[in-house]
């Protein structure tokens, strides 16, 4: 990298929000590369409330969270993602409260010069949000309300980032 290029490097654009309100995934993806020309790849992941789960209907989801810790835990994982990949931007928005099928739940946007870092960091952040961020989903099912059980598949997805081979492959 030339000294001139180095001097023009901008700090990564980091946004973390917890909110009841909806978000606009397209607007957030556009925002992350605004006022900078070093971004070559933007990956957007949106998690959406669906109307079924494992054979039963879901009329609504209620998301409970641990205020304070949720922000801090997400910030820790964003910092970890920034340490692992050369990211130019990260946006994480997680909603809480009552959501119905079709509603947005979570948004992760990652920006980098090249796609590999953006894809990997988005997957890393989602895997950790599923298993380490203090949020709990309660489903409204036809037979009543029930807390969602943690999935072993989600734990396995998060743990793969702890394996040295994954770390090496990602770097």
């Amino acid at each position: 990298m030339s000294p001139r290029h180095e001097s023009l490097r901008k700090a990564a654009t980091v946004t973390i929000r917890l909110q009841r309100e909806d978000f606009d995934a397209g607007a957030e993806a556009a925002q992350i590369a605004r006022n900078r020309t070093d971004v070559g790849a933007v990956v957007t992941f949106a998690g959406i409330c669906r109307d079924h789960e494992a054979g039963h209907g879901v009329a609504a989801l209620t998301l409970e969270h641990y205020p304070g810790m949720a922000e801090e835990e997400i910030a820790r994982h964003v910092a970890e993602a920034q340490a692992r990949w050369p990211l130019l931007g990260v946006t994480v928005i997680h909603r809480y409260g009552r959501l119905v099928p079709g509603d947005n739940i979570v948004l992760v946007v990652t920006a980098a010069a090249h796609r590999e870092a953006a894809f990997a960091a988005a997957a890393f952040l989602m895997d950790y949000l599923k298993t380490r961020a203090p949020f709990w989903k309660q489903e409204q099912r036809p037979d009543g309300a029930a807390w969602v059980d943690a999935k072993e598949a989600d734990d396995a997805a998060a743990e793969r980032w702890d394996r040295p081979s994954e770390r090496d492959a990602a770097e």
Binding site: G47, L63, E64, H65, Y66, G68, M69, E72, E73, H94, I105, V106, M126, L129, K130, T131, R132, A133, P134, F135, W136, K137, Q138, W147, V148, D149, A150, K151, D154
Partner: protein, 85 residues
Amino acid sequence: MSVTLRYFAWVRERIGKTEEVVDLPAELRTVGDLVTWLAGRGEEYAHAFENPKVVRAAIDRSHVRPDTGIAGAREIAFFPPMTGG
């Protein structure tokens, strides 16, 4: 030692409180000791901690393990495995 305990999701529902301030006996050293002590406080606590391996904990907003010491903690939270995202 006085500490704020916070409960979330079904741990909160079973205990019937979102939080409480308790004076902890000095002999409690770890998160695991605290869980055992809490489970003996009544039926609702016994129900919440009936499978202690399932319940997760955080001290001052950071995840901790059962063998983590609780000395100096201001806020200790208990909750089920997380299901966000």
